[in-house]
Structures are given as C-alpha cells and as structure tokens.
Symmetry: none
Subunit: 535 residues, 2 copies
C-alpha cells in the first residue's frame, strides 16, 4: 500500500489523529468524503501514520477504512485503526470489537488501554489484574494477525501520580506482548511540560519501552508538552491538524513538526513538505468548515504580520530582526500592516508589497503617513482594508482619485409593517461615463438594498461588476460610550471568484459607512479587472 517506509530517516514517528481524536472537536462533523480528502492532504504532507477512526464503532468509520484503502494511493503514511482492548472476562480472538479492527484491513492498530487504577475500577469495573490480561491478550492477538500494534495508555500521567507501579506495569505488559510503541496520554490535558518530562524520563528508564506522547491542550501547553516528552526520549508524537480535538483540542501537528524540523534539526517529514504546511493547514480548515485560525503559529495569516512602527523600521534594515524563521520555510509570508502605530518605514514596505514604488519620494511618503494618521484618528483602519489603502496610495501617487463612477445621492428606507414584515428599499443616483443613472432596488436590509441598487445602475456600463460578490461584512461602533450617536466603521470583503479584497468606510451612521466601503469595493474590483477609469 505504501511505496516508502512510513518512518523518516531517523525512525521518528509523526502520528496524526485528526480523523479520530480531532473529529471530537465541538463543531466538527466529518463525512466519509471529508475524511478521505483530509487523509490525502496528510499523506501529501508526509506524516507517517494516519489514524482514521474506530472501525466497527460506527458505519462511517468502517466505510472510511474500506474506501481509503481502495481510493488512496498512500505515498508516505500507513493507515491506523483505533480501538479498545477486549472486554473484561472475554477473549480477544472472540471479541467482535477487536474483530472489526482486523477486518478494517489497516496495517496498524492503536489500542486504547486503561493505565489509571481508579479508571479500571470505576469506569471499566474490572480488576487491575484483568485489565493487564486484556492488554496482553489483545496485543498478542493482533500481532498474530500480522498487525503492527501501538498502545495508547489513557490517563497515563494522572494514573502515574496515583499508582506509578501499576501505570508502568501496563507499559511493560503491552511491550512484552509485542506492542511497538506505548503512548503515554495526558487525556485530561492538565499536565505541564516539567511534569511530562520527569514522568517520561522515569518510565523510559524503568521499562525500556519505546514511548510516544499524546497531549491535550487544556493548560495551553500541548505543543510544549509534546516537545518535553521528546526531550525526555519519546520517539513518537500524536497530533492533530490545527490542534482540533475534544475540549480545548490536541497538540497541534504544525507547530510540533515545525519545532522538530526547524528548532531540533530533526528530519521528521519528507524533503520539501514543511514548505507546504501553510497551504495544507488552510485546506484542512476549509474541509472541516472552520475558518483557518488567523493567529495560529507558523501558518496563520497574521503569523508574520508586523504592525508596530518600531518593528517596521527595524525590518527595513533586516527582516530577521523581527521574525524567528524565514516564513517561506513553512510556506507563509511576511506582511506589513498599516496602522497609526506605523511610520514611514511600514508605508514604504507596504508600497513595495503592492508593487507601487515610493522609493525616493520622501514628501509623498510623508503625505501618505499623515493621511493614514489623520484618517485612523477619525476611525478608519487600513490594516484590515488593504484595498482601500491601495486606492488611497494610488490617489496620492497618481495625483487624482480613481473614478469609475460618482455618487450624486442615495436614499435607503427601512420599514417595519404592522404585520411584522420588513420592507427595505434603496434608490441611488450616480454618474458614470457622462451618464446620469437612477436605480432602485429592494433587499433584505438597507445595505443589501443599496448594494443591489448600485449594481442595477452600474452593471450595464461595467459588466465586470456582475461577478463581484460581497463575502463578508463587519460593523464596529467606535467611541462606544455615546450610544447611538457614535461613529461607525464598516469593513466589507468582496470576491471576484479569483481573489478577495477588503474595504473600509467610516461615518456617523452605519448606512453611510457601508456606502463608502461599497464604493471602494466596486472601484477596486474594476481596477483589478483592468478597466480604464472614466467618470
């Protein structure tokens, strides 16, 4: 099934459990097609093992194993079935749950085993001796069926604190029965790195077993806990893409492998894979239908974004002064944010990023800085409105506004009728190519009605507007202690199918601010489409 060994040169295991433990995250609900798509990305990324689910526990997971082996030509990963040790008092060879693991066809099985004495007694309701026998019997049986076996010791760290000898007995029993790796799980996620490191060191010295780590993020330390275990000698890390998982989540695959490759100089992924990390992180987020976390380490869109003026001037001297790695190594890139904390340096860098050379014109840069500061004082923000910033910059550089149309006036009416229904109607009066346009439209709100009226009026002259779509709309009330008399800022994100851009409007009311943001959104869309300005 695999054309290469699942381990990397060093024999270190990168084990992904996005499809099993990651799927426990609140808000994630994966179809078989989703699971197959994610498995393909994970295999591309080069993880050694993909835990696909619990075959037999639900029909979806059973189907996934069948189809994954048929439909995916794994290049790097081995498929792993997750299941439990056999029932108390039975035999592994006759246990239907164990039989389903074998039937899945997965070459590797991860068995979850209890290692905390209290859990054995309270949750399994069996004896400590029988639990050890369940581990031994199930591992042996699966080994006889030709499977590689990993054993997840659930609640290991809490169990070790309560009864270290019993916890270690579970590790020894699993190893003696043929388990290749025993994974110490911080199931409740309450541990800190120093505790993890101490326990892993001791268990390694006392048992000689090959150890792995499975960390949950309840203390916000899952990545550090995983690395602490590696420091102590663990050679197998269990992670999930983007840290998805129950409660707070699991150890995030991306910062873990980035630390191992870039900070430890360990080769844990195929050559070149790390540079795909940002793309793969975002693709998986799209599949599970969660917005990619903008502030995720290494891969977030903000991970290499700079706002402080102090930083910006230093970055002009040398980008490495304010970034811990070259973002290209993880497929990300540096971005300069424009804000009133920024000075000349960040405006110059931003201009360069947009392909507008401001190089020698100190007056021009000074004017732009002053204008940004003055507008940000009035409530505008350009760090989240690149397109409005670019329009303003071009206006300064080219000495005139980029005009495709001019607004004469507009009007929006919102009406709540006695029957509880709402009517929203807008009329716009515009000028474009020497022509006066009057258009009216209805919408489900005043902004939607204005948006529609603007399109109705302009689409005949600028057919390029037809493919523009408003994909996000944000409202923020500024100086919030004045109630409804505050200033309102609106941010609009627009798409033309190939790219997205954001624009900003600020006014004393939400409708007027929205109109400004819409004007910029359409102007930028026409600029992007290469249309010649002609008011």
């Amino acid at each position: 099934m695999t054309t290469e060994s699942p381990e990397t040169d060093s024999g270190f295991h990168v084990f992904d459990t996005t499809l099993r433990d990651g799927a426990q995250r609140e808000g994630i609900n994966l179809t078989v097609a989703d699971k197959l798509a994610i498995a393909r990305y994970l295999d591309d990324f080069g993880v050694g093992f993909i835990e696909g689910g619990w075959p037999g526990a639900n029909p979806r997971d059973t189907e996934f194993f069948a189809r994954a082996q048929q439909e995916i030509d794994f290049r790097h990963a081995q498929l792993v079935a997750f299941g439990s040790t056999r029932r108390a008092g039975g035999s592994a060879a006759e246990d239907p749950q164990v039989a389903a693991l074998v039937a899945s066809g997965a070459p590797v099985v991860t068995l979850v085993a209890k290692s905390h004495d209290r859990h054995v007694e309270l949750a399994l309701r069996t004896t400590l001796e029988e639990n050890l026998e369940m581990v031994r019997d199930t591992v042996s049986h699966l080994r006889e069926q030709g499977r590689r076996v990993f054993v997840d010791c659930e609640h290991f760290f809490d169990g070790y604190r309560a009864n270290p000898e019993y916890a270690k007995a579970v590790v020894r029993t699993a190893t003696d029965a043929g388990a290749e790796v025993v994974i110490l799980c911080d199931t409740n996620g309450g541990m800190l790195p120093a505790q993890i490191q101490a326990v892993v060191s001791t268990v390694l010295a006392d048992t000689g077993a090959r150890l792995g780590i499975h960390a949950q993020d309840d203390t916000g330390c899952a990545v550090a806990n995983t690395l602490a275990a590696v420091d102590a000698g663990a050679t197998h890390v269990q992670c999930t893409a983007n840290g998805y998982g129950e409660r707070v989540g699991n150890a995030n695959l991306f910062p873990v492998v980035a630390a191992l490759e870039l900070k430890y100089d360990k080769r844990v992924l195929p050559a070149g894979a790390l540079a795909e990390m940002t793309r793969i992180s975002h693709a998986i987020a799209e599949i599970v239908n969660l917005a990619p976390s903008t502030h995720q380490p290494y891969v977030g869109v903000s991970a290499f974004a700079h706002k402080g003026g102090l930083h910006a001037s230093a970055i002009k001297v040398d980008p490495d002064l304010y970034q811990h790695i070259d973002p290209a190594r993880v497929g990300n890139s540096m971005r300069m944010l424009v804000s009133d904390m920024a000075g000349r340096a960040s405006i110059e860098l931003k201009g360069k990023e947009l392909g507008i050379d401001l190089g020698d014109d100190r007056d021009l840069v000074g004017r732009v800085v002053a204008r940004v500061k003055e507008r940000e004082l009035r409530g505008y923000t350009y760090e989240a409105a690149d397109a409005s910033f670019e329009l303003m910059l071009r206006e300064e550089v080219e000495g005139r506004a980029r005009g495709y149309f001019r607004t004469e006036s507009w009007r929006a009416i919102v009406e709540d009728r006695p029957d509880g229904s709402h009517a929203n109607e807008a009329t716009v009066k515009l000028w474009a190519k020497g022509e006066r346009i009057v258009a009216t439209a209805e919408g489900n709100g005043p902004v939607n009605a204005l948006d529609k009226a603007m399109r109705v009026g302009l689409e005949r002259i600028y057919p390029q507007l037809a493919k523009l779509e408003l994909v996000d709309y944000k409202v923020r009330i500024l100086e919030g202690r004045h109630g409804t008399e505050s200033t309102t800022r609106v941010l609009v994100t627009t798409s033309d199918g190939t790219g997205e851009w954001s624009t900003v409007g600020v006014a004393e009311n939400v409708i007027a601010a929205s109109w400004q943001a819409l004007e910029d959104a359409y102007t930028y869309g026409l600029l992007r489409a290469g249309v010649e300005p002609a008011v």
Copy 2:
C-alpha cells in the same frame, strides 16, 4: 492611587500588557474608551500592573493616561507607562520621549532596551557602550523622578545566543541603575521552554537581578515558556488578556495565572478573582470586538465540553475522570454536548441570581432552557444581555409579556444628499395605555432617529424614560460568509444614572435588530423604575 499593594502575598508580579502589546494584534484598534473599560476589568481581575501604552507616541495613549488616573479608582493595579531608553548621544533629562513618560503621571515605567548586540548596531545605529549608557542614564533619571522602573530587554534570548556577556551586561547595568525588575523578552517568539529555562537560570545566577519574562507565541509555547522562566526563578510575568498581541500573540494571561494558582499553588491574584476569569476573558473580547475563542484553555465555551461517548459515560460515574480541574474554579462550567443537564442548572442559578425562584418547577425551567436554545440558535446571546434574559424569564414565570407599549410599525429613512450631508428621519407608531402614538424625529443615523422618535412618543406617558441614556451599542454580523445578507445581532447598553443594563436584538438587518434591542432596553428601564405595566 491604589488602596492595596499591587503585589500579592508572595510578592510575585502579574503584569498585563493587553493595552500596549496586546493592541498590536492585527484587527484590534482600541479607542480611549475601550482602553479604560479594559483597564477596569483587569483591575477587577487583580493583576498587579497594567501597562497602558506609550504616552507621547500618539495622542490616544496620552489621553488614556490622563483619563485613567482621573476616572478609575484602581483597587489592585498600578498603572505603567511604556517607553524607550533615551536617544543615543543625548541625555535622559532632556529627552522629550522620556519627559512624556514622566508627564504621564504613571507611578511605574517600563523601558524597552536593546540587549542584542546586532540590534544595537543595525537598528539603533549606535555603539554597545552608548547603549549601556542609555540604559543607565534613563533608569537613573526616572528613579530620580520617583518612578518604579522595569526594563524590558528586547530580543534578550536571541541576543544571549549571539553575545551572552553583552546581554548580561545590559541586565546588570539596568539593575545597578535602580531598575526593580529586568524582563527577558523573547521578542521574536522563537524559543522553546527548555531554552528559556536554561538561559533564565544562568542569567539569574550570574547577575542576581530580579528577572521577569515576556514571551511571544510564535512557536505555540508562550504559556509554557512563561512557566519555564518561573521554574527557573523569574518572579514577574508579562501577559495579555486572551493572548492578544503582534503576529501570533503574547503569553495568554488566563492560562498563565490559572497554572500558577491551580498547578503551582502560588497566590498571584486576590482571593476569588480566578472564579471571575471566564467572565472577564469574554468581556474583554467583546470590548476589542473579537469573538471570544471558543477553544481557549480554561475559559473557552468548549474548554469543558464533552462529546465522546466514552467520556460521557465515564463522566456520569465521576466528572473528575475527564476534566483536569473543576471548571467552577475558573468561572466556567462543564457542558455535555448531547444533554440539557448543564443548561437547566445554569438557568436555575441565573434565576436565583435575579431573585426569581424557579426552585421546584421543572417544567418551567425546561421551557426556559428550550427557549434559550432556540433563540441562541437564531443568533441571540444572553451572556451579554442580562436584561433581555430577565424579561424573557419573567414572561415565562408570569405567563405574559411585560408590556408598557406595543409597536404597530416604524420606518427609518437615510438619505445622502448631493452636498454630502445626510438626513436621517424615523417615524414610529406605538400603542401605550390605550392610546395610539405617532411620532417622528431626526437623528444622526437611522437608529438614533428611531431612538429619538420612540422617546418623543412615549415620554409624555412615561416621564421616567427621560433619564435613560444609551451608553453603548455593538453590532455583530453572524454567519459572515453571506455578505450583506447575513443575520445581524445588536447589543445595546442603557443607563438610568444609577445602573446599566444590556439588551439584545437579532434580525436580518441592523435597523430591525436595533429596534428590538431598544424595545427591551426601554421596557427594562420602566421595570427597574417600578412602573406598572399597562399596554
């Protein structure tokens, strides 16, 4: 200014820099009012120090320091001004930037100093000797002005790697000149806990200085890095609420203090403060207008939510089997994602809090739970709208709506005129005490016009409305991928001079949602005033 010592019993410093470093996060843009509101929450929470910004660097921060000292009666925190060491070749006594720090009136100043030799040469463009002199001179000057001084050693860990002797010389110089704490900053955020621990231990042994830690989260280890520094002997931690900060963010205040209090048994906050943590985290997120992270350790709504069937059945046996702490200790609660048990309990608690006894009526509680669930699914949130929740609860208990007036219909018109001015006019048709009222008013926006028309119409019948004032107004667009066709949620805070209350409205457009929130706001105001209902 403070009535208690800013340090806790142990003398440990919890230093918050949400208002300075946290504000560097992409997407955060704080007004002075926002900063004052956040400072109040941080002081309530009991941090020892609140870094408010860089006075003199921009007018907003200067205004913040002036108003914070006038308007806030700090109970726990000392206010801290952030600034830089003096310019190369000058004198601290004559440096305008240093003068602005003194003029801010803040009793504590944090000075950022370069400690990386390459940064001194490339970014500051001065000599290593002059940089030390800048530290010495600026610290001494501020001490002479009666300020407590902390020194942030920027890029300390990278600098230590490049030139450990120079990095330590900066620490010694600052301490010798009178700095109370020297903070080692991982400015680029590239460090891992083991590295932090080793460097902090050595620097502490070699310099004897009181050390602090400032960690950025670029490796996903900021919380662990902060704790590693504490393990090595640091007694001052710099954090931001919810981990806001440049790039990926800063060490998150909440998991850091939770670990110190709950895992280290260190007393770093006033008694009882930890149990307010979830509420305070969410309140600050609302002020900066970012959705509270659902998966944040300790305080996320998912942090103690259980989905796995395995976990659910074990939790029925004993909740501690699957949670690392009792969530009540941090003001959070366990949620079973498949049961309404948690819902009932919190509704009962909430009723008790409002003085409405629901004690024995299981049907009533069930109806309220169902109604809350149904409304939250449609976008309502009651966490931040206590008054709307109370109105709904009373409606269920008393079996009828609390009516002071009934809306027949309303209409708002917003017009942008050719001269650029805006006209906003609203008409409302209401019934109160058997009378039909038609009123019209103008405002600076459609919501303001509706608000005024409602008052004009009702004040004759309910003169109590005269003293109500809208003090805050927030808009959030839900399901943001549908552009202007999304659902809109409006939160309004109203004051009657003695207290404030918040109400919520949800509709397909911002005006209709605002109207709902205003209706609840006035109804609750009349209820508070003891007026008898009479539609």
